[in-house]
């Protein structure tokens, strides 16, 4: 039953990817530029939690420290870099180059401090397995699914039920109108960056639980998640999460017919073709 295992691995991986996609979707739909440094924030979360753990904090507290640090980092990035550039009337190109620069600074900063070698959390409970419905799942995998679903539901609740979420969607749909109706888009941008950055810390910790920490691991994951965001239709949280699941399952099932090192290449190959023919996403007119 290789395909069943691959399917399950795909769904689990899809939940992790879905969290990255949902967090990025919140930010991208609101600020409308490609925040590349989100990949570095993802990495930051994993390393900060690792350090907290090594300083003797319990697992849940270590994760919480990571979430708080990432949230603050996100707010700081928006306030100190993007907002400053925006106030000077910088074009998207300029903001993007700065974001790329920030991404390089953060990732290489991490590499300089922690070295480029793979770091392990070393938590034996993570690999213990349970059989659920004939399928073998590790604790880490189950945790990923639980957090993935909770993150999706949480993001939906936030966007549709909270005042800040409604303001966020208003700013996303019409920044100019939002400006003159005192929705204070600058504050909304900071809040959304903080929330999105805090959220991305969760997959930033859960994925390395299995695979180990790498300073540059965030870039391909963010790009795959971005594919889900775009293909799912920018602004749609459900679209982003569902497409993340689909992409992750397809990536895993592709292992049946080709070696794993090609899967990322194939994903982007399909995406490039997709962008040529359906650039506005699957679920938009």
């Amino acid at each position: 039953m290789l395909w069943l295992n691959l399917l399950i691995n795909g769904l689990v991986w899809g939940c992790a990817l879905g969290m990255v996609a949902v967090s990025f979707s919140l930010i991208f739909a609101t600020t409308r530029f490609f925040h590349v440094a989100h990949a570095a924030v993802y990495g930051l979360g994993g390393y900060v939690s690792w350090s907290a753990l090594k300083h003797g904090l319990p697992e849940w507290a270590a994760l919480l420290v990571g979430i708080v640090v990432c949230g603050l980092a996100g707010a700081a990035i928006q306030k100190l870099l993007y907002e400053r550039l925006d106030r000077r009337g910088a074009t998207h190109l300029v903001i993007l180059i700065a974001s790329l620069g920030l991404s390089a600074v953060m990732q290489n900063g991490i590499a300089a401090i922690y070295t480029s070698n793979v770091l392990q959390y070393g938590l034996p409970w993570g690999n213990r397995t349970t059989i659920i419905g004939g399928a073998l799942l590790t604790n880490t995998q189950m945790l990923t699914v639980v957090f993935g679903i909770l993150s999706y539901l949480g993001a939906m609740w936030f966007a549709h039920r909270t005042v800040l979420g409604k303001r966020m969607r208003a700013v996303a749909s019409n920044p100019f109108l939002a400006e003159i109706t005192r929705l204070q888009p600058r504050q909304v941008h900071i809040a959304v960056m903080a929330i999105g950055s805090a959220l991305v810390c969760i997959p930033g910790v859960l994925v390395p639980l299995d695979l180990g920490l790498q300073p540059f691991g965030g870039v391909p994951i963010l790009l795959t998640a971005t594919i889900a965001v775009i293909a799912g239709g920018v602004g749609s949280i459900s679209g982003a999460f569902v497409l993340a699941l689909v992409i992750a399952v397809l990536q895993n099932l592709s292992l049946l017919v080709m070696p794993g090192e090609w899967s990322i290449g194939i994903t982007f190959g399909i995406f490039v073709i997709f962008m040529l023919f359906r650039p506005r996403g699957l679920f938009t007119g």
């Binding site: 409308r32 530029f33 490609f34 870099l81 400053r84 550039l85 910088a90 074009t91 998207h92 190109l93 300029v94 903001i95 993007l96 180059i97 700065a98 790329l100 620069g101 920030l102 991404s103 390089a104 600074v105 953060m106 990732q107 290489n108 900063g109 590499a111 300089a112 070295t115 480029s116 300073p215 870039v219 391909p220 790009l223 971005t226 594919i227 775009i230 070696p259 090192e261 090609w262 990322i264 290449g265 982007f268 190959g269 995406f271 490039v272 962008m275 040529l276 650039p279």
Partner: protein, 287 residues
């Protein structure tokens, strides 16, 4: 002496890459982070042709450049369909796809180990093995590249490209072909990157994926941003400044284990600082 020559040879090769990146990113406003991928294809193809065929060096480089013309048009095509921020994602994707091919296609590219033993250029019976000889080739290559760039920017073609960057629709309303101009620009950028690849492969006599990864693309972008976007002077100055940087860093006592990370970190810092305080770079125009 040899050390300085090597620096100049490499910088001259990177000037061609600077021109390529500047043409797309600065002049036309297509945000490409995959120029290193095209550079890599030029390098691998030249290496392959020289190692496995009897083609003379100039022909091999020309073939590689021609192939990169086609390739760059192909990878730039999505930008004709999707707007800026979406294209960036596509461009990242192309870069990662290229890295996957360079690293995993062991039969063609030698995989992570690369292709060693690329023969030195042989022109009219003379073999260019030493940097002091090779410098003649790269200087001619750079001069030709700069001349082409200068002639284009001076001609109505340059004005047309800049007009497209500002307002494609208005250009179409004036009876001009936006598609044609963008394809031309992509073709030229491909030719620059491809021939730079050919020179690079033969100069180092070795190619491996690490020279053509995402970091390399970011390095190219840093070069253009620091030197100054949209101008010839900026594209020439940028590579000379940035390639000198590691040498200066070498004077500071940084453990070798983090030297590479420190270098990339400084490139990133330069991108941020220039965007915040000097978007026109040292000798360019405001982005």
């Amino acid at each position: 002496m040899d050390f300085l020559t090597t620096y100049i040879v490499l910088a001259e090769i990177y000037v061609l890459l600077g021109l390529s990146t500047n043409l797309l990113v600065g002049i036309v406003g297509i945000f490409s982070v995959s120029q290193a991928a095209v550079f890599g294809v030029g390098a691998y193809l030249t290496a392959f042709l020289l190692m496995h065929t009897a083609l003379p060096f100039p022909v091999a480089v020309l073939l590689a450049a021609a192939f990169c013309v086609g390739l760059n048009i192909l990878v730039t095509l999505p930008s004709l369909r999707v707007s800026g921020d979406y294209f960036v994602v596509t461009s990242f994707g192309i870069q990662l796809l290229a890295t996957a091919v360079f690293t995993n296609w062991t039969g063609g590219t030698g995989g992570a180990n690369g292709l060693p033993g690329v023969p030195a250029p042989l022109i009219l019976g003379h073999e260019f093995t030493e940097p002091t000889e090779f410098i003649a080739l790269t200087t001619i290559g750079m001069a030709l590249g700069c001349l082409c760039f200068w002639l284009m920017m001076r001609a109505p073609f340059g004005a047309l490209l800049r007009a497209i960057r500002e307002d494609e629709l208005a250009v179409a309303a004036l009876g001009k072909s936006v598609l044609g101009a963008k394809v031309s620009a992509a073709a030229l950028a491909g030719a620059f990157a491809g021939s730079a690849g050919g020179l690079y492969a033969t100069f180092l006599s070795f190619v491996d994926p690490s020279s053509f990864d995402l970091d390399a693309s970011i390095f190219l972008l840093t070069m253009v941003v620091v030197g100054g976007a949209r101008t010839l002077a900026g594209s020439v100055l940028g590579p000379f400044v940035l390639l000198a940087l590691p040498q200066i860093l070498a004077l500071i006592d940084i453990p070798t284990s983090i030297a590479a990370a420190a270098r990339q970190l400084i490139y990133g810092l330069l991108l941020i600082v220039f965007m915040l305080f000097r978007p026109q770079g040292l000798l360019g125009e405001k982005l």
